[in-house]
């Protein structure tokens, strides 16, 4: 398709979609209004199950099945990207001898922040049902902590401390753990991903039933997923070389 034909198709399509959007939005309730039927239902449900972070309760309890779907998308795209980023037949992994130099200030800050970031990540994952955060957010923080080794240290050091196969296994195990927790709920109560564990006292670390455990499983999966993804991209940029 030539560029001008593509523009004609775009403007026709965008005009139609734009008109429909405007028509639909004009009937929306006014922004910032008082009517929120979903809120009226989900907030008491979350508090009743001892999960003060209502977003986590929605994600990991009230509509945990959707989160399983989301997690499957994550797993699928990590597998896809890892397959696409494999070194091909005429490529080999070679590490450069000269890795450049890192500013002393960057090194200091990186090594100082590494343990802090790890602890913050663990805190965000394990308190996902109590305070803002959860498995997805904490997982990204934990993966960032691992990669501070690359920012402050070197690619070699990152590769030594980050055995890729461990993370691949952890990714699969964590994804499986989510499904197994769901199946246990199905066996015990007849509902997939039912909240089977004791709810505990509102505000305690081990409260809110399965929300805590699903958060930890998702945290492990997101951490390993991001590490596997970034290892693929970093290898493409830094070590995969074509050999002829």
């Amino acid at each position: 398709m030539t560029r001008s034909a593509r523009w004609i198709v775009f403007w026709l399509g965008a005009g139609g979609v734009g008109a429909l959007i405007v028509l639909a939005l004009l009937k929306m309730p006014s922004f910032g209004g008082l009517v929120h039927p979903y809120r009226e239902l989900s907030v008491p449900a979350a508090i009743g199950r001892s999960a003060p972070n209502i977003v986590s309760s929605v994600n990991f309890d009230q509509r945990a099945l959707d989160t399983l779907g989301e997690e499957t998308i994550l797993l699928g795209s990590v597998v896809g990207a890892a397959a696409l980023l494999r070194p091909s037949k005429d490529e080999r992994e070679q590490l450069d001898q000269d890795e450049g130099r890192v500013l002393e200030a960057t090194k200091l800050l990186g090594y100082l922040m590494l343990p802090v970031t790890l602890i913050v990540g663990l805190d965000v994952v394990t308190h996902g049902h109590l305070t803002p955060g959860g498995g997805f957010q904490g997982g990204v923080v934990l993966a960032t902590a691992v990669h501070l080794l690359y920012v402050a240290g070197s690619y070699r050091m990152l590769r030594r401390v980050r055995p890729k196969t461990w993370y691949q296994v952890a990714e699969a195990v964590a994804g499986g753990a989510f499904v197994i927790l769901g199946l246990v709920g199905l066996l015990l109560t007849g509902a997939f991903l039912a909240n089977i564990f004791p709810r505990g006292v509102l505000g305690d670390l081990f409260s809110s039933g399965t929300v805590f455990y699903l958060n930890v499983a998702v945290g492990a999966e997101v951490t390993s997923g991001v590490v596997v993804l970034l290892s693929g991209f970093l290898a493409q940029a830094l070590s995969v070389r074509e050999v002829r």
Binding site: R3, R6, W7, F10, G13, A14, V17, G18, I21, V22, L25, L26, M28, S30, F31, G32, G33, L34, H36, Y38, R39, S42, V43, A46, I47, P52, N53, I54, V55, S57, V58, N59, R63, D66, T67, E70, I73, L74, S77, V78, G80, A81, L84, L85, S88, T131, P132, G134, F136, L202, V222, G225, L229, G232, F233, Q236
Partner: protein, 111 residues
Amino acid sequence: MSLLPYFVAGWLLLIGCFGVVRSRDLIHTVVCVAIAQSGTYVLLLSTGFQYGASAPVQGAPGPVVDPVVQALTLTDIVVSATVTALLLALVIQIAKRTDTVDPDKLDELRG
């Protein structure tokens, strides 16, 4: 105007698509897809917003904003991030095989 945030969402979707059509570089295309998707974040969050309400965590003062749309937005962001990663991996392969990232130069079929 009380409908403005909704229109911002619609505008983000359309400007993202505009960017995809205009794109001369696949990395730029991937970013435009992410922008088009970010329109859905704005739409979801502005649907659940209430003036004067606080974050949906118990113990916050006063009424809270709608937590369901916030959970949907979280799902949306995760999906967007993973799709972006997958698309970027595809771009790397395309760049290696064809030595170009200009979508206009990728129009012939290859066996």
